[in-house]
């Protein structure tokens, strides 16, 4: 099992009447709600929490990409990863990821990921999301019906840039380059392992299977609702005669741990409430630009998680716990439910969303520490038969330098 500590980096100062006064947390959120001076502390605390998780034995710490979003302060995940690469030593860095259809030219991603891999000594796990419709279409202006074609072309370009050792010409429809010859190149050859966040597109299942990429389902609605979607993935894996290693799949889960179940509710309910009832307030018109999702996918009944028919309105702690959106409670409660999740979904990677909404640092540290010490060790060996499957994880250099290793300043050199 691999555990990644993840923080969406929400803006923690959305007002109490946010839902009533704003139509969306995303795309056209009121820019006056962002206070740059307050963000100085917010960003640095979030970095500290990621670095703290690294000291507790999480396998990876993660960053992702969102734009114009009140619950995601990382338009550039690579900037976050660069900061983490210098401040951590052993933990894997999971960037889930860079939306490759948004970079012009997309080899920018091949270059930056190579830089991160070199700086971190081969600790990078790279993610290539198509990006949500809010990010990709409404914030970054990509034409919905052409987004996937552009994504596929960007992927082809990046892969060729990493695999080929001679300069080559790339005559794409969306990108034309006469001399592709990236410099630097990643430590992990031919490239870092790749995780693809998907929202249930059948095309994405096949893409992961064909390329030996790990498929990640990043949902906020918890593992009970994820069953159908991941079952679809595993059926596809079986139909394509691929092995069923659990490391082929990952899942994001909101987790809060305290000494007792009651203590968990007392400590974390307000922050979980902030996230589900304030941060997920997305205007449904932005959830799914027509053409973004393929017809085949819509016909399968896979719709955006940001525009649930019943809405996210007024979900209580009880709703969220019973619905499985959130796994919270004592270490034993959390362990049991995590085991259900891991076995039920057959996932080898768990992205632990342990900072939630406007949770202050001390509560987050408490929950994180309990999870690392009392829950994680007991979930480690759920899939012993796949313990040696390293295809989907990074392979760092054996000998790595430490940050701050300059020689002593001499009077004369």
């Amino acid at each position: 099992m691999k555990f990644t500590w993840f923080n969406l980096m929400p803006w923690p100062h959305l007002p109490d009447d946010f839902r009533e006064k704003n139509r969306s947390v995303w795309v056209d959120i009121d820019s006056k709600l962002f206070d740059p001076e307050k963000s100085h502390e917010v960003y640095n605390t979030y970095f500290d929490l990621l670095e703290y998780a690294a000291t507790l034995g999480f396998d990876a710490i993660g960053a992702n990409e969102h734009h114009q979003n009140g619950y995601g302060l990382m338009p550039s995940p690579n900037l976050i990863a660069a900061g983490l690469a210098r401040r951590t030593e052993d933990v894997a860095l999971l960037v889930l990821g860079a939306s490759i259809a948004l970079y012009n030219p997309p080899i920018r991603v091949a270059e930056e990921f190579a830089m991160l891999d070199c700086i971190s000594g081969g600790r990078l796990i790279a993610g290539f999301p198509v990006g949500t419709s809010m990010d990709t279409n409404f914030c970054y202006g990509q034409i919905p019906a052409l987004t996937r074609e552009k994504y596929r072309e960007a992927h082809e370009l990046i892969m060729r840039a990493w695999h080929e050792r001679e300069p080559f010409a790339f005559n794409g429809r969306y990108t034309k380059l006469r001399y592709v010859n990236i410099w630097p190149r990643p430590i992990q050859q031919p490239h870092p392992p790749i995780h693809i966040p998907g929202g249930g597109s059948i095309e994405t299942y096949d893409f992961c299977i064909d390329n030996t990429y790990s498929y990640s389902y990043l949902s906020f609605t918890g593992y009970l609702r994820a069953k159908m979607l991941l079952q679809g993935y595993w059926e596809r894996v079986a139909a394509r005669n691929a092995d069923t290693s659990p490391h082929r799949a990952g899942f994001a889960q909101t987790i809060c741990v305290a000494d007792t179940d009651a203590e968990a509710e007392r400590l974390f309910a307000p922050h979980v409430n902030y996230f589900y009832n304030r941060c997920l307030h997305v205007y449904p018109g932005f959830a799914d630009a027509p053409g973004y999702r393929t017809i085949k996918t819509i016909q399968k009944g896979v719709l955006s998680q940001y525009a649930p028919l019943a809405g996210f309105d007024n979900l209580t702690w009880k709703d969220l716990i019973e619905g499985g959106h959130v796994i919270a409670g004592s270490p034993e409660t959390v362990r049991q439910r995590m085991e259900d999740l891991i076995k039920g979904l057959h996932v080898g990677n768990v992205f632990c969303l342990m900072h939630v909404g406007d949770m202050p640092a001390e509560k987050c540290m408490y929950s994180t520490k309990l999870f690392a010490e009392k829950v994680m060790p007991r979930l480690r060996n759920i899939f012993p038969e796949y313990a040696d499957d390293h295809r989907f994880w990074c392979k760092p250099m054996a000998k790595r330098v430490k940050a701050g290793s300059l020689p002593q300043m001499q009077e004369t050199v």
């Binding site: 279409n137 034409i143 919905p144 019906a145 018109g285 053409g291 017809i295 819509i298 028919l309």
Partner: protein
Amino acid sequence: MELKTIQTAHVPVQYYEGGQGQPLVYFHGAGGLDLEQGFLKALAEKYHVYAPLLPGYGESEECAELRDMLDFTLHGWDVVDALGIKNPILAGHSMGGMIAAEMAAIAPHDVSRLVLIASAGLWLDDHPIPDLFSTMPFELPKYLFHDEAAGAKAMGANIELTDPAFLQVFLVRNARQLGAAGKILFPIPDRGLRDRLYRIKAKTLLIWGESDKLVPPVYAQAFQSALPHARLVMIKEAGHMVTFEKTGEVVSALSAQ
């Protein structure tokens, strides 16, 4: 009107045909032809009307080969060629106006007349066109109609979207239609037509609803200033769906010259 199918270079295209007289090819807007059946019928009393459904609309297959404005423009001419028509009147509403105008600009000698009805294709920073792609179905009537209530009823915009089976049909249709339209309208419905309008030689008629809130009448002025010989007919008590709300007046204006 008869519904037929012809093969074009890429995909089969469905079209309505009816009437006699001078050939007129009509290109629909992003909403398709559902509200314009009456208009086509009235038009067919004066002209030999052909109204193709763009790929993604009706039974016209989606077409991955159509990606940008030039593709749509040439597809328009492919349809005209497949129909075996020479020197047609080209008419278009909204997105269809944008396509017709591009067709007239790229082949200025092959068009006998051009009719642009509440046409898209230009962008004025001071008068941003509402974002059709993030608009919920129930919000559309206020942009489309002078008489919002009547319009909403006609387009069934108040339909319950909570029935999953119905929702799926609606979403598939929406994804096909607006997915295709988005290739030339998203995120800003401007693909450089302004720079090409000078090439248009055909006699041009602009028809606008006075209370159009999607592509407001100021856009009629913008077209007119780029097409100095164009004639503008403003129609009172009509919104963007002027062909639906004032069918008779649009047909009279169109056939008056």
